[in-house]
């Protein structure tokens, strides 16, 4: 393959990793955030955790793989973004540590204080991670100060601009909704009713924020910086979210979940087509933007990595899908059948 097509291929592959990550970890961040609010009793909380218990770790690996693939395929992108968003990523890591450890440790002691503390850590950790990832992506869409040496020249507060914050909050809202829909699919009985009732309230909040974010993006012109006009993709994303509201009211959990998932996927596609071929847009000088052409690895590395991806990606997808299939049954809020 030519160098240019390899660069495009790796841009697409990394986009797919992020899309997969937002789709999968989106609902488990949402479930995590909702945990202390929806689970009143210990057994309910355990049931809520168990809806994602067997999969959250695998979902998180999509993020690790996106990071690793960016390092290998676009070292300058990896270097500039990770050093530039330093404190934001530090907080993201703290959030991921908090929730990851809590899933495993919360039930290993029966002291209610111990459990409640870890439940809140799951919620706060998931919230932090969703907020920061949303803010980071909004800033990537908006552009960040980068100098001629590919160095990020801002600081944490550069990222906390209105658009960045809006992106963060919207991501939190959408993930909450996505999580509630997922719980509706996985739980039973009274808890399921409670979740579904909550989902219709969340839908209003998420939709309002999403539309404001969309209008902001359009008016500010962030959408036509790259070479690709996202066209009807963002409109379809809005439509999917609106249709999701209909299904939530109809208590059709399956279609509600699919529609919000579609919204997340289409939003990510919009993001990546908005920015292509830039991977980080410089607000200091457009010529200093990092693009897939000036940020990538050598042709040799991209070729080797393509072969590796060709071998492993189908295998990974197969066993991950299979693991979801294995645990497809609804989870009873019953101490006798719950794995603690």
């Amino acid at each position: 393959m030519s160098y240019e097509s390899l660069q495009i291929l790796w841009f697409v592959l990394i986009a797919i990793l992020w899309i997969g990550f937002f789709f999968l970890e989106g609902f488990d961040f949402g479930v995590g955030m909702l945990l202390p609010f929806l689970g009143k009793k210990d057994v309910e909380r355990r049931a809520i955790i168990n809806t994602i218990g067997s999969v959250w770790d695998g979902n998180e690996v999509w993020l690790l793989t996106a990071g690793g693939a960016t390092f290998a395929a676009f070292p300058h992108w990896y270097a500039t973004m990770f050093s530039g968003f330093y404190l934001a990523l530090f907080l993201l890591l703290i959030g991921l540590i908090m929730r990851g450890i809590s899933f495993e440790y919360r039930s290993k002691d029966s002291n209610p204080k111990w459990r409640s503390r870890f439940d809140w850590m799951i919620s706060i950790g998931s919230f932090l991670a969703a907020l920061l990832l949303g803010a980071a992506f909004a800033n990537l869409a908006r552009g960040v100060p980068i100098n001629a040496d590919r160095m990020f020249t801002g600081n944490l507060f550069t990222l906390l601009n209105p658009y960045g914050l809006l992106g963060g909050v919207t991501t939190v809202a959408i993930f909450l909704l996505h999580g509630a829909n997922f719980l509706g699919l996985k739980l039973e009985g009274e808890l399921r009713e409670r979740v579904n009732a909550f989902a219709s309230k969340l839908w209003i909040v998420a939709t309002v924020f999403y539309i404001i974010l969309g209008v902001f993006t359009y008016i500010a012109g962030f959408w036509n910086r790259g070479h690709i006009n996202p066209g009807i993709v963002p409109l379809t994303a809005v439509a999917a979210l609106l249709v999701a509201g209909y299904f939530i009211r109809q208590k059709n959990e399956g279609w509600a979940f699919i529609m919000v998932a579609l919204n997340i996927v289409l939003t990510q596609i919009t993001f990546f087509s908005m920015t292509f071929p830039n991977v980080m847009t410089s607000t200091t000088n457009p010529d200093w933007s990092l693009t897939i052409y000036n940020a990538s690895s050598s042709q040799y590395t991209l070729s080797v990595m393509s072969i590796v991806a060709l071998i492993f990606v189908p295998i990974v997808l197969a066993y991950q899908a299979w693991s979801y299939y294995m645990f497809r049954k609804r989870i009873k809020t019953d101490k006798k059948t719950l794995v603690y």
Partner: protein, 463 residues
């Protein structure tokens, strides 16, 4: 404060911390997989209890390795952006392959293993613990290939236009001899770490004559594996030394505190340097021994740091190319002495298991318990040695540490993260040690009934 120093402290702290937990994950996974396999084959309830009990400790430890591992992958870009730009072509590849081939494997199948018992077929449940063990060890292989390249760069060219190292031979990268000696040393070390934990915890219960069947069998299995693994670790270390003689002579000289080139070279039993760590004051040496360790004959030349430093000044420009000898010298001694003790102690344990009353012996009250800590000290000192011994280089002979840090980070940024990691990691360790102790003491019954809690602090749940 100097950003380079702060970033180095942070990397050292997070890496050594991560590495306190990973070796146990690497080794204990194999043990649990073996025990569960034996249960599957024999339907002997004792094996089931063993798999459950050690599996519980495995999970408590595994969780810390997972969450601290994410930091590892992110901090190359966060703190070492210039390094990442320079080596991304080469170093990024094994890292990405690690995520694709190993992280997905272990994380997906650990979920199936925890939640799948009785829900998935027994065979699948058994296969999943094997895949977890394979996944975690495979991940160690990839990261050691990446680190091996930093110690001994192969299969690359320096691109004159971009000034970056570029991969030209993937095969050379993954067959890097340095990496494979490293891998052998490390994977065996994982088994040894797990074996010593099993021995120590088993001894605790055997002393109290509880669950004798479970812990006698555990002790015996671990004694065999512990001895074999400790010997392999030691031989791996010796081979690394010989490889280092050729590829990193400065590290070799620094860990031995050899100032002047010697032929034949003596081995230092004890060397006292001055406070700067750069001058020898007094030493006690075994003649010829160093030559033997370095190249298996009694008469080869081992270059001293002074000569090497002069040589590097001519080759790479003026500078100080001597690592901090106080650290390299003492971490090497610590690692090697402990490694030797581990071989002897493991042999002693195994030798004693031929008699049935070994748990009655006086030494049994304290030796196995304290021996748990041996691999931990050796693991930490080994990593400090191999990383500090490469200084001032981050990639040996190509890029210096001071040129590798992220230029945009301020001391405030770094202090926030350094203090933040220290606090969070401290809390993690406290929770982890608390749970490990609790479940280790509680014995197999607690591990068998997952939802039944064993804490005496039980005050009635919220339900």
């Amino acid at each position: 404060m100097d950003p380079v120093i702060l970033s180095r402290w942070q990397f050292g702290l997070t890496t050594v911390y991560h590495w306190l937990f990973v070796p146990l994950t690497l080794g204990l996974g194999w043990f649990v997989a073996y025990m569960q396999t034996r249960f599957y084959q024999t339907k002997d309830e004792t094996y089931r209890k063993m798999a459950k009990f050690w599996g519980k400790l495995f999970l408590i430890n595994f969780a810390i390795g997972v969450v601290t591992g994410i930091v590892q992958e992110f901090q190359f870009g966060m703190n070492w952006s210039e390094y990442s730009r320079y080596v991304g072509d080469i170093f990024g590849a094994p890292l990405a392959i690690e995520a694709l081939s190993s992280f997905f494997l272990e994380s997906t199948f650990i979920g199936i293993w925890i939640f799948g018992e009785g829900r998935v077929p027994d065979k699948v449940h058994l296969a999943s613990i094997w895949l977890v063990a394979i996944g975690s060890n495979l991940s160690a292989v990839w990261i050691l290939i990446a680190n091996g390249w930093m110690q001994n760069p192969v299969g690359y060219v320096i691109n004159d236009t971009t000034g970056r190292a570029e991969l030209v031979d993937f095969f050379a990268l993954i067959t890097n001899e340095k990496a494979w000696v490293f891998i052998w040393h490390t994977l065996a070390d994982g088994l040894a770490t797990a074996a010593f934990l099993i021995i120590g915890v088993s001894a605790y219960h055997l002393l109290r004559k509880q669950h004798t069947e479970v812990f006698k069998r555990s002790f015996q299995t671990a004694a065999v594996v512990g001895l074999v693994a400790s010997v392999l670790v030691f031989l791996g270390g010796h081979t690394m030394g010989q490889f280092m003689y050729e590829s990193q002579p400065m590290k070799m000289a620094a860990l031995e505190a050899i100032w002047e080139t010697e032929q034949p070279a003596s081995f230092s039993l004890l060397t006292i340097g001055d406070l700067s760590g750069k001058q020898e004051v007094w030493s006690l040496r075994i003649p010829y021994a160093m030559s033997f360790l370095a190249c298996n004959n009694l008469d080869c030349e081992v270059k001293g740091v002074e000569e090497l430093n002069a040589q590097y000044n001519a080759e790479f420009g003026p500078g100080d190319y001597i690592p901090l000898m106080v650290v390299t010298y003492w971490t090497f001694r610590m690692m090697m002495t402990i490694g030797l003790i581990m071989v002897l102690v493991a042999a002693w344990f195994l030798f004693n298991t031929r008699r049935s009353d070994y748990a009655e012996k006086k030494w049994f009250r304290w030796v196995p318990f304290w021996a748990i800590s041996l691999p931990y000290f050796a693991n930490a000192s080994g990593w400090v040695l191999t990383e500090m011994g490469r200084q001032p280089w981050i990639v040996y002979g190509l890029l210096k540490v001071e040129d590798a840090v992220s230029p945009n980070l301020t001391p405030v940024d770094l202090l926030i993260s350094l203090i933040g990691y220290t606090v969070v990691y401290g809390l993690l360790a406290a929770a982890m040690v608390y749970l490990m102790k609790k479940y280790a003491k509680a014995g197999p019954d607690a591990a068998m009934h997952e939802s039944v809690d064993v804490a005496p602090s039980f005050t009635g749940g919220q339900d």
